[in-house]
Amino acid sequence: MNVRNYFVLPGLRSLDKLNIKLKQLKNAHGEYFYNDVYLTYVQGNFPNAIWNGDTMFFTKHQPLNAEMHDVLRSYQKYSLQPILNFANSEITGQDCDNIYCNVILQTALNINFNTTCIVNSKELYEYISTNYPNIMQIYLGKNNAIPADNTEPIPYFLNPNHNGDVDFLSRLKNKNNITITLNPLCFNCGKMQECLYKEHLAQLNYDPNSSKLCTCSYLYNHEYPLSKDKFNKSRDLIIGEYNKLGFSRFALEEYPVPEDNLEEYLFYFIKPEYYHEAKEFLLGGN
């Protein structure tokens, strides 16, 4: 059966070079990849954006318009559609006018490439709908709940706490529109929402020193297992089980150590017999 699995890559800005190389590899050596792999989206943000809804992304270097344009243009060239994570839950109405975030949106619009935003604030959702009607939006809502009647033809991110819940997954409607994060770092952690809230506040307050409040040492000491070691099954089996339930959209989470993202890409995308060649290419050896 020819299954197509569509993947959302992480690290829109932080992993942009790796992501572009991955697409270049697919173009040059499609045979290295599992047959079901379709790389379609890239998710994330530019640094220092206060609307950012992921873990805090702060860099000393402030990108300007030209840099944002170059990154998005590269993705356009390689047909990776951007999903901007604007799901900061602590945004107020006044933050909708934030100059930098509006420049990001305007840059995306100017490139005229299908761009989607994930938002978690009703004010921001309405603001973007009014001012940027051509930008598609996913509205998460306060509890990241999937609307029962979701029919949007764009990836909707399932809360990873449901990943192993076969009953729950079976009951979901419109599975074609739901994206499952295959390698969540924080899984079944009771403090996940609290941590994310603190990350969102830290992002709003330009305070990277306050954001590392997760007490889970495995995350911040980089003791998390990689997918190749975490699951007691092959990649085909992992994805195959979701395919059987009707899911074919998947995302990868960005890992704090850059090299670990390469390993995750190899595990999920590359046939084991080509690991060496693919790794060499992705590290710039080709």
Binding site: P47, N48, I50, F58, T59, K60, H61, Q62, P63, L64, N65, A66, M68, Q94, D95, D97, N98, I99, Y100, V103, L204, N205, Y206, D207, P208, N209, S210
Partner: protein, 287 residues
């Protein structure tokens, strides 16, 4: 006391701190009756920034800003002067989170703001009343009547247009009680009467709001190439001590946010260090 307001808050912070440390360690080498009045710059990335654009940009964190407060307000007892001179600001820009956070974080110090926009000025006066407000030279009020009117307003200081620096008639007509609030830009690189100056500031403001760092403009001093007319409005140290200070003027601004460290350091020692110690001071701070 003759006060020099220097571009040492962010991009020239390191050189300025070294200079301040040197002055603290060698107080007898400092020209008598002079000191640094304030350190100025905009803390990046600042959408309210005007006056200058930079080749690269940074983003400061809360920790960075609090460190500036610790160093300048607490250690050296020097006010921080925020350059918020973007003249293109609209109502929607006033809620910029980072600019407001900087004002919030620095509100309990002896700190100051330079403004060029009436909208922003009113906003800061209402919401951050502890800040002293300075009228910016980027308003380009080279007409003596306009400058006179500006001086009469409720500003802590007014940085007058550098084209008036040597207009003795204008300076003599300034009221005694207003003289302490006059600030002179004493090393402006721009040639006298530059027709592009206001447009240049306008475009710099646009850059800040659009996250760009270049616009085409005819500028005789692009790429640091000077013409014969640059620095023509400058005021030399001996003029300050022999003419301006005796007249009652005490505030002098050194530009330099986009000059090299060497040029900034050279200006510091030229105006604030006794001649016989200038080379020693310069080699220390440029080491």
């Amino acid at each position: 006391m003759i006060k020099f307001n220097v571009p040492g808050l962010w991009y020239k912070k390191d050189i300025t701190i070294k200079f301040l440390d040197y002055c603290s360690a060698h107080p007898t080498e400092v020209v008598e009756n002079t000191k640094i009045g304030a350190v100025y710059d905009s803390i990046p990335y600042c959408a309210w920034n005007g006056g200058r654009i930079f080749n690269t940009y940074e983003q400061a964190s809360k920790k960075d800003v609090m460190q500036l407060k610790e160093i300048f307000n607490e250690k050296f007892n020097i006010p921080i002067r925020l350059i918020y001179t973007n003249s293109l600001l609209e109502e929607k820009h006033l809620s910029d989170r980072f600019c407001n956070l900087c004002l919030e974080w620095l509100t309990d110090g002896p700190n100051e703001v330079v403004v060029a926009s009436d909208l922003l000025e009113d906003y800061i006066r209402t919401n951050y009343p502890t800040y002293k407000i300075i009228s910016s030279t980027t308003k380009c009020l080279s007409n003596t009547n306009d400058s006179g009117l500006e001086i009469s307003k409720d500003y802590y200081q007014v940085c007058i247009d550098y084209n008036l620096n040597h207009n003795q008639e204008f300076l003599r007509n300034i009221k005694e009680e207003d003289k302490p609030k006059i600030e002179f830009l004493i090393n402006a690189i721009c040639p006298p009467g530059c027709p592009n100056r206001k447009l240049h500031y306008h475009l710099n403001g646009m850059s800040a709001l659009t996250y760009q760092n270049s616009f085409d403009i005819e500028c005789k001093i692009q790429n640091g190439i000077n013409t014969l007319n640059c620095y023509k409005n400058s005021i030399q140290p001996e003029e300050i001590h022999n003419t301006y200070y005796p007249m009652g003027f005490t505030n002098f601004k050194l530009e330099g946010r986009t000059l090299s460290d060497a040029e900034v350091a050279a200006n510091y020692v030229k105006y604030m260090i006794k001649p016989e110690f200038q080379l020693r001071c310069l080699s220390y701070i440029l080491r």
